[in-house]
């Protein structure tokens, strides 16, 4: 398993549209993708789980990837979050 800490930069946090984008981009990876936020572990490939987490701007989150393409998945996930998910 690999993991990285990132800060959410979207002005409105991970609301539905960025969450959808994140899930869409991460789905092709075979690895399990989870986000740890405020001691909660969230399945980051489920739009509902992601939105239910209510991650706001400035939140520190830990992204964990586990699987055969975990390194690529993690790089992609970090890049997505850091890019502000199109916002």
């Amino acid at each position: 398993m690999v993991s990285a800490n990132v800060k959410v930069t979207n002005p409105m946090g991970l609301h539905m549209r960025p969450a959808q984008l994140f899930v869409r981009e991460m789905t092709p990876f075979a690895s399990e993708v989870t986000i740890v936020h405020k001691d909660r572990t969230i399945n980051a490939k489920s739009i509902m789980n992601l939105m239910a987490s209510g991650i706001k701007q400035g939140s520190e989150i830990e992204i964990r990837c586990e699987g055969q393409d975990e390194q690529a998945a993690l790089e992609k996930a970090v890049a997505l979050i850091e890019s502000g998910l199109g916002e």
């Binding site: 609301h15 539905m16 549209r17 959808q20 984008l21 739009i47 789980n49 939105m51 239910a52 209510g54």
Partner: protein
């Protein structure tokens, strides 16, 4: 921020039908609009579509959460729908969507994110979504959300809004009367006073002439034990669905506030169910279940009269001013009122306001009966009545004879009940026609029916109306005085109730008919108006005089409000006398009726005439026979005062 607090039973559509994404959004936005949370429906709908354009809000497992933040959202609100059959909403998993939550959030803040997050936490639980889809009523739907919210977020069972305890009331009330000047506020005051004595928290919304004040919020309605609706006109009751609601005339609120509050507290009041139609904006039966047939008719009538009054008063006073500023030309008596440019301007504008009087009267009667679809039908019916169109006049080009206000009353009631019948019939049509009912079937068929109906009855009513005016005109000497006594006496029998309004509508109706026909001042119609006004001015004046001259017969509270009655009386606001009449009806009412009748009779006998429908002492300047009118008023007030003084005992001797 709980989900149940953002949602409301009437913003939930269960078993709804929609053929595509567009119709689902229409349905949801319509639900949202009903609660008045949107200042601009189109702008909000556009914002929803803009959001959909970025990416569909259809997520997975049949769930879609359309949402928009917009300046047009006044306060955060949710609407929900469960479709019978899912539609393609562009969901991420490609499945059709059938469970919808539409979020409306104000433009500033992160509220919608919090709502989304909270909603998602609930929606992740399949047993929750399954329960929602199986909910058999909107109340059930709300209860399911409430239950799961408590479970998921571990909230205490008793949610008496601990963060704002001062904003919860045990009893709520709405007061309204047709004119919205006096009764509304007197009932509100009486209820508040009674609640204070009972040590009960109570909030009153007043639907007066200036619009609703102190509006009850959804939270307050939810947490209250029941609602008292003390009203003589339509008030918005849909929001009370599912709560015990006590429907009474506004007078009950003034006379028996304590009893009403006790009825709510003792749970003697049945739960009110608003007729719910999932996909229709308007609802047929807005009235309470316990209302008598006669009271319903009165309420519909008053809805029309109260909406008509501004037109009558505004138009009437402008026309009166036109006569006041104009120069009388003996060569051209019919042109009086429009000889000078200023007078002509005032008369034209006032006349325009009068033209709307009958359509507005019948339109709002019909709307009271059949809700929104009734309005257009009633307005057109009233306009046809006012113009007096009949099949004969259309075919032969003969001059139409107006059916007058009687015709407009008929058009309003007929139009309203036609629309009810039409809606009942349309309910039997296939559901696929649902969408075209309000935009095509109701207006086209409704207006066609009322048009044919009015063309049939207009000739009859026109003749009756003319017959009445001719009859009234032919009354001379004693019978004219008798008419004045009757009209004025009726004004103070119930001071704002059916008798009073009947006399007032007769006076203003006669005035409007005559003014529209260009009848010169001094005619019997204007004399009737003067008598009616005298009848309405006497009761407060008599009571004011009595409190001044016979203070021993009144409590200190009564003496203080007695002084205000001088102003009320001079302004022709009969309602000022009501607290006195209410506390001692058997002595006050006969005295006032006798005094009013005398004033009306004298006014007619003197031939005093008035060309404005309201105004009290302020329209004295435009009256004929000013001094004699004052004499008539003084005589009436003096008689009523003396009778009252003779009947009433000193406070100490009671």
């Amino acid at each position: 921020m709980r989900i149940v607090d953002l949602l409301d039973a009437h913003r939930i559509a269960l078993g709804a039908r929609a053929k595509d994404k567009s119709s689902v959004i229409d349905l949801l936005v319509n639900l949202q609009e009903q609660s008045g949370v949107l200042s601009d429906v189109q702008a909000y709908k556009q914002a929803v579509w803009d959001r959909e354009a970025q990416s569909s809000t259809g997520i997975e497992a049949g769930i879609a959460v359309p949402h928009a933040k917009s300046d047009s959202v006044l306060r955060p609100s949710l609407a929900a729908a469960v479709l019978q059959q899912g539609v393609d909403y562009g969901a991420m998993d490609g499945q059709p969507s059938d469970l919808f939550f539409l979020i409306a959030a104000p433009a500033d803040g992160e509220l919608h994110l919090e709502i989304l997050s909270r909603l998602m936490q609930l929606l992740m639980d399949p047993s929750f979504t399954q329960a929602l889809r199986n909910a058999d009523s909107a109340q059930d739907f709300l209860q399911i959300i409430d239950r799961f919210e408590r479970k998921t977020f571990e909230e205490p069972e008793e949610s008496a809004s601990p963060e704002q305890p001062e904003e919860s009331y045990r009893v709520l009330a709405v007061t309204a009367c047709p004119t919205g000047i006096a009764h509304t506020y007197m009932a509100a005051q009486a209820l508040e006073k009674a609640a204070q004595q009972l040590d009960i928290s109570l909030k009153v919304e007043t639907n007066g002439s200036g619009g609703a004040k102190n509006i009850l919020t959804e939270d307050e309605i939810r947490s209250a034990e029941g609602i008292i609706v003390a009203a003589d006109k339509q008030v918005e009751t849909e929001r009370f669905s599912g709560k015990p609601v006590l429907f009474v005339p506004v007078a009950e609120g003034i006379h028996r506030p304590e009893k009403l509050i006790r009825q709510i507290l003792d749970k003697e009041v049945p739960v009110y169910h608003h007729a719910e139609r999932s996909s229709e904006v308007a609802v047929v039966d807005r009235a309470g279940p316990q209302e008598s047939w006669a009271r319903m008719l009165y309420k519909h009538l008053m809805n029309g009269v109260s909406h008509m009054l501004p037109f009558v008063i505004g138009g009437g006073i402008l026309i009166a001013l036109a006569f006041l500023v104009d120069v009388y030309d003996p060569q051209n008596p019919a042109g009086f009122g429009s000889n000078t440019p200023l007078a002509a301007f005032l008369k034209t504008v006032g006349g325009m306001a009068f033209q709307f009087m009958l359509p507005v009267l019948s339109g709002y009667i019909a709307m009271s009966i059949a809700d929104r679809p009734g309005l257009a039908v009633g307005v057109v019916g009233g306009a046809l009545a006012a113009a007096g169109i009949s099949f004969t006049t259309i075919a032969s080009g003969a001059t139409p004879v107006s059916a007058g206000f009687l015709g407009a009353l008929l058009a309003g009631f007929a139009g309203g009940y036609f629309m009810r019948a039409l809606r009942w019939l349309c309910d039997r049509l296939p559901d696929s026609l649902e969408g075209i009912k309000p935009i095509l079937l109701y207006p086209v068929l409704g207006i066609l029916i009322i048009g044919a109906f009015m063309c049939l009855v207009n000739p009859l009513l026109g003749a009756l109306n003319h017959g009445l005016v001719a009859f009234l005109n032919s009354l001379g000497g004693v019978s004219k005085v008798f008419l004045g006594a009757i009209l004025a006496g009726m004004m103070s029998i119930d001071m704002g109730g059916p008798f009073n309004k009947a006399a007032y509508v007769t006076g203003t109706g006669a005035l409007a008919t005559a003014a529209a026909a260009g009848v010169a001042s001094g005619a019997i119609e204007y004399q009737m108006m003067a008598a009616v006004m005298a009848g309405g001015m006497v009761p407060p004046l008599a009571i004011a005089l009595c409190t001044t001259l016979f203070p021993k017969k009144f409590t200190s509270d009564e003496r203080r409000s007695g002084a205000v009655n001088y102003i009320m009386g001079l302004c022709f606001i009969t309602e000022g006398a009501i607290p006195f009449a209410a506390s001692d009806p058997l002595r006050v009412i006969p005295s006032c009726v006798a005094g009013s009748a005398l004033a009306g009779a004298l006014s007619m006998w003197f031939g005093c005439s008035l060309m404005a429908p309201h105004g009290g002492i302020f329209v004295l300047g435009i009256m004929n026979g000013k001094l004699l009118y004052l004499l008539a008023l003084a005589a009436g007030a003096a008689l009523a005062m003396l009778l009252l003084a003779a009947l009433k005992k000193d406070i100490g001797k009671r």
